[in-house]
Symmetry: C2
């Protein structure tokens, strides 16, 4: 028992925070943010959730942050004008940063059409930011039109719809480009998993 | 292989989301929010981090959300006027809710002086909200005055300082009251851990 025991025990405890490194060691994998970007209907959310499922099966700690769980909660005070879109992404990036500190492999699925916003995310998250471009061509997305949004956008019912009346600025230096418009989902999942293994984020078993 | 295989494989994958229940099973403990409330200097952050450390040693997945990691990030656009304080707590509650969905035992350390705000947190988080009152009397907190804030507040340099020029509304039905002003930290930690075991949130070993 050292000299400083006793009244200073508060200080000793307080310094003993659980660090990100301790959590990563506990989890057996690194934490990072897999930032899925692409047009509406490109398959971002589908791919993110499928990758998460595979990671979970391998024992990883994961979480998907997408529109569904922030637009009705954390960001429900925000609309869709430019300043609100920027603030929406800012909050998502900050929350993703907290999840990384918590040791979680975090997947985000947002159109995030502007390079400057993704650049801001990259700046805030540093080496933890991994940009994954779901590269489905516009005509394929519009042909799918799962939510009927392209039809509405063409009819002028949705202002500033990405790809129709507002630009999508494709990534120029994404860490990974996935041809989500021309390969089966399982192949895209395998592509992402292989990349994560290569990067040393996870330890791949027989599939590496 | 069922009839619906093939073109509908996207749908099948998308439905196979990793649920909170799957994460809790993976982690071996339940998720919840331990909401530490009390005066400035009551020992909320110290206790939260000490409990987290103990939980981590037991193999639990944990995270502490406190002023340090939100005021400079997620909530850096907010000041300290009433509306901003309310919005600050709202965002913390929403983020805590995401961590719960991620299966994490989440600890928050905020003064959160107003009953209505804590009631809102309880409403949003439902049965996942566990209020822990760090019950250190004002004179003890002021005597400690670790950050020198009470002296400044008494000198009128900090407007609306909780306990001095703004009320602290003590919890009336907290799940747990910890006499943080009159027992050693280790005893408070043990008190919280015992409570968590009793509630079935964690499985206690030899210490139960």
């Amino acid at each position: 028992m050292g000299k400083s025991e006793g009244k200073s025990s508060n200080v000793v405890w307080h310094q003993g925070h659980v660090t990100r490194q301790m959590r990563e060691a506990q989890n057996g994998h690194r934490a990072a943010v897999l930032w899925f970007t692409g047009l509406s209907g490109a398959g971002k959310s589908t791919l993110a959730h499928a990758v998460e499922q595979r990671l979970h099966e391998l024992g990883a700690r994961t979480f998907v942050i997408d529109g569904d769980n922030v637009r009705h909660g954390l960001c429900r005070d925000l609309g869709f004008v430019d300043t609100d879109r920027v603030e929406n992404i800012r909050r998502v990036v900050e929350v993703a940063g907290l999840f990384v500190q918590a040791g979680v492999l975090t997947l985000t699925a947002f159109i995030s059409p502007f390079r400057r916003d993704r650049a801001q995310a990259r700046e805030l998250l540093g080496g933890d930011f991994i940009e994954i471009f779901c590269d489905t061509p516009l005509d394929v997305c519009e042909g799918r039109d799962v939510k009927g949004l392209y039809a509405k956008a063409r009819a002028g019912e949705i202002p500033a719809f990405t790809g129709i009346s507002s630009p999508y600025e494709a990534p120029e230096h994404a860490e990974l480009v996935v041809p989500t418009g021309s390969e089966p989902l399982a192949a895209s999942v395998q592509r992402v998993m292989h990349f994560l293994g290569e990067q040393g984020l996870i330890v791949m078993g027989e599939e590496g």
